[in-house]
Structure formats: structure tokens, C-alpha cells
Symmetry: C2
Subunit: 247 residues, 2 copies
């Protein structure tokens, strides 16, 4: 197993996998370790749903609009979970109106992302390949239906992994000088100029998702991807309110 | 350097550190590796602010109401950062009204948490000790002021680390049977009964933060901690709107 520094320094998202299964003992070891992840306020306000049902995988792939999700050997969805704590409070006979505000909601989102991040880091350290799934947010209402989620829970992010069957180039990431600052936020004079080299580097990167063609510069991507933000994804808070969160 | 499975299996939050500094090369190696972290939609919508100014550390400790923050050798704040992409779009002469909706905002929150999680996992794998800081959310307006954050940025979480000067007990975490489900959400009949053993286990754990006294059962903690959620923390969305997010 590689250490996490080496893992990150060489990491690339993997979306195609061999048929080889991961043995059950390894899966359970990963899940046991994940339970020790840091958690907001110690409250463990996130849960994990493992998807083994092929029909559900297909449905989730449709929500995400990414067909490779349906084919991934291992698929996990991470949810903010305040239902468990709500029930713990209620079943002990107390006032239970304390688990649904913005603060608590965001703690749950963060807990889910912490678990997902550690899962990706662990499996990549094992030389398995993984991808993050943010696209389950395309339709959170549908995800609630697919997973039969109770009130006071919310889908946040997914992770798929398996034995890699592709070897993509490393995607160029911004140098840290553009993202790490000291004591206060660093404003650059001219972002076009400052980001010129990174923009150039990105245009020479080939993304295997798109038939080995070159990708746009980073600036172009930022513009196009944020422009295409789906209306349904912006119903996020509305769906959470429907699911009993007071936001 | 330990692997991440071993690290997590033995992890405990560390809040007290020796005076020994961490050499600058190690810090930069960690930051370089972090730049390869997964990021929502490839958009890298988070930045890191390293706090080296002692006065600022004190101010942040006051916001968090945790005096040990002021004494930690290394302190980093992770922010959602859409200002950079907003400027990239604008400086290329395009319409820039695409970087401020709920979807994009949450992508930035997630990116910040991914970076923070990997930082904690890396430093703990190096046998350094670390703590997460969720309490910067106590007063996001004040954090924006301290860090001189521009519009379209938002403080999310902090991480402090150094050489450990304490050796706390491992805090009991929920067994995975209570948090990991298959295909759909698992509802338990009676949460009081189901969580009985974990509740018991928690009451025999001593938290070094509180002078070695036993802590409450998990159910008690859930009730008290969610009840005490601060009004200011719930101004989260309001402050983000003030900082130009359309939420």
C-alpha cells in the first residue's frame, strides 16, 4: 500500500475498470477504517450506502448522466444523515427539534465529503482506481427516491472504484502559488496573465473521456462548465427543505 | 510514513503540540501534493490560507472559542473560492455572472473539505498530530474580515497540526453496521436499543479536553451539541449572500 503523499502526487481519476472484483474482506476493512474519520463536532452526521443492485446503479448513472457509473465494480453514495440523531433524541423522549438548521446541515455535508475523500485516498493507495461522483446532485429528489432516504437525510457525493482498466495522463492542476496564500487572500493584478501558463498546459492535456481529444484551456472550462450549471442542481436547498431541513 | 488504513485505524484528534517546528520543505511537499486532490467538476474552487501571523491566530482562536488554536504550530484555513474563476472569466472579456449559484457554491464547499481532509490524512500518516476546526463557522463574517476575503469566497474549515504533545485515548466511533447500508437506507426499529452498546462505550471514554472526565453518552452529546448550535452559525447562508453568492 502506497503512502498518501505518493498516491496524491501520482493520482488520476479512473473511470474504466476490469471485471476483477475486490474481495469482501478488503471492502469491510476500508469501511471499518473510514468510521474513524474526523467528523464535525463528533456527531457522525453522515452515512454510507453501498449500491450492489444493478438496477439502482443504472438509475444513478442516469441521474449523473455518466454511463460508466452503471459499470463500476464498487459504488458508494455518501449522505448527510441527521435522521439517526433525530431518532436518537426522540427515542430517548426528548425534544427533537434540534437537528435541522443550516449549521447542522452543513456539518452533515462536510462529514459526507470527509468520508468520501478518505475512501478515495485509501483505495488509490491500494493501486485501485476511483472516481468521485458530484453529478448525483443533478437530481437530488430522484436520488432520495432511489435510495429510499428518510427525512433529515440528503445525498451529497458518490465514489466508484475498482481495478483500473485505463491509464490516463495526469490532469494538470493549478500550481500552489495560485491557490495557497499567507495570512490574507492574495489578489492578482491580471488573472489572464497570471494564469497564462496553466491555461496553456491544460490545452495540451488529453482527456480520455472525450476520445483522446485535447481539452479547452482552464479559463474556457471555467466559463463553459459554470454556464452549464443545471437548473435542477440549483434546487438543492429547496429539496433539502422538502426533506425537513430548516434552511 | 504510515499508510492511510493504518493511520485511520489508530487516529485520534491531537490538540496539544511540542514547540518543535515542522520544516518548510515538508510543508511545501504537503501543499504540492494537495493540489492533486480531486475537485468538483475539475474547477478547483477552493483555496488555502496559511496563518503565520500570531495576532491572526489569536483572532481565529477567539472566533472558534478554542484557545489551543492560538498555540498550534501550523494553521491552515480552507475557503470556497469562486473569486478566482470569476476573475478568470471577466479578465477574458466574458459575461461573468456564472459563478455564484447554489450548485457552484456547494462545489466550492466540497472542494475545501476535500483539501482539508487530505491534509489531515497526510500529516497524520507522518505521525504528526492534527485537529479539524469547524468552529471558524461560529462567525463567518469575522473570518472574512480576518482573512481579507474578496466577494465570492467563503471560509469553510480549518486544520491545525504539529508534533503531538499528548496521547489521548481513541474516541469510540459508531460501528459501521449503524452507518453503512446496502442499496437503500436502513431504518432501525428502536434507536435507543440499537445504540445502547455504543452509548455505553462512549460514557467510559475520557476526553482530555475536559480534564480527563468521562463524557456523556453519544445520545446525550447529540442532544446537547445540536441544542447549542449558535445563532451566528445559522447566519451562514445570509453571510454568503452578502459575499455575492446567489443562494
Amino acid at each position: 500500500m502506497k503512502d498518501l503523499l505518493t498516491t496524491l502526487e501520482n493520482r488520476r481519476t479512473i473511470r474504466e475498470f476490469t471485471d476483477e472484483r475486490i474481495d469482501e474482506k478488503t471492502i469491510q476493512t476500508i469501511l471499518d477504517a473510514l468510521m474513524h474519520s474526523p467528523t464535525s463536532n463528533g456527531l457522525q452526521q453522515a452515512s454510507i450506502i453501498r449500491i450492489t443492485d444493478e438496477e439502482k446503479k443504472k438509475q444513478i448513472a442516469e441521474v449523473g448522466n455518466q454511463e460508466y457509473i452503471a459499470r463500476v465494480p464498487e459504488l458508494f453514495i455518501f449522505i448527510a444523515d441527521h435522521y439517526r440523531n433525530f431518532r436518537l433524541i426522540r427515542d430517548f423522549g426528548r425534544n427533537y427539534d434540534t437537528t435541522s438548521n443550516v449549521d447542522i446541515f452543513v456539518q452533515g455535508l462536510n462529514d459526507a465529503v470527509i468520508l468520501a475523500t478518505n475512501m478515495v485516498s485509501i483505495v488509490e493507495s491500494m493501486d485501485l482506481g476511483a472516481f468521485f461522483i458530484g453529478s448525483i446532485m443533478n437530481d437530488t429528489e430522484k436520488m432520495i427516491e432511489i435510495l429510499d432516504l428518510p427525512k433529515l437525510t440528503f445525498p451529497v457525493v458518490g465514489v466508484g472504484f475498482g481495478h483500473p482498466n485505463q491509464s490516463p495522463q495526469m490532469k494538470p492542476k493549478m500550481p500552489k502559488e495560485l491557490r495557497v496564500f499567507e495570512n490574507t487572500y492574495t489578489h492578482f493584478e491580471d488573472y489572464k496573465e497570471t494564469f497564462h501558463d496553466y491555461d496553456e498546459e491544460m490545452t495540451t492535456y488529453y482527456d480520455l473521456r472525450d476520445a483522446n481529444r485535447r481539452v479547452d484551456s482552464f479559463s474556457d472550462q471555467v466559463y463553459k462548465k459554470t454556464l452549464n450549471s443545471l437548473e435542477k442542481r440549483n434546487k438543492f436547498l429547496e429539496v433539502a427543505r422538502k426533506n425537513s431541513y430548516k434552511l
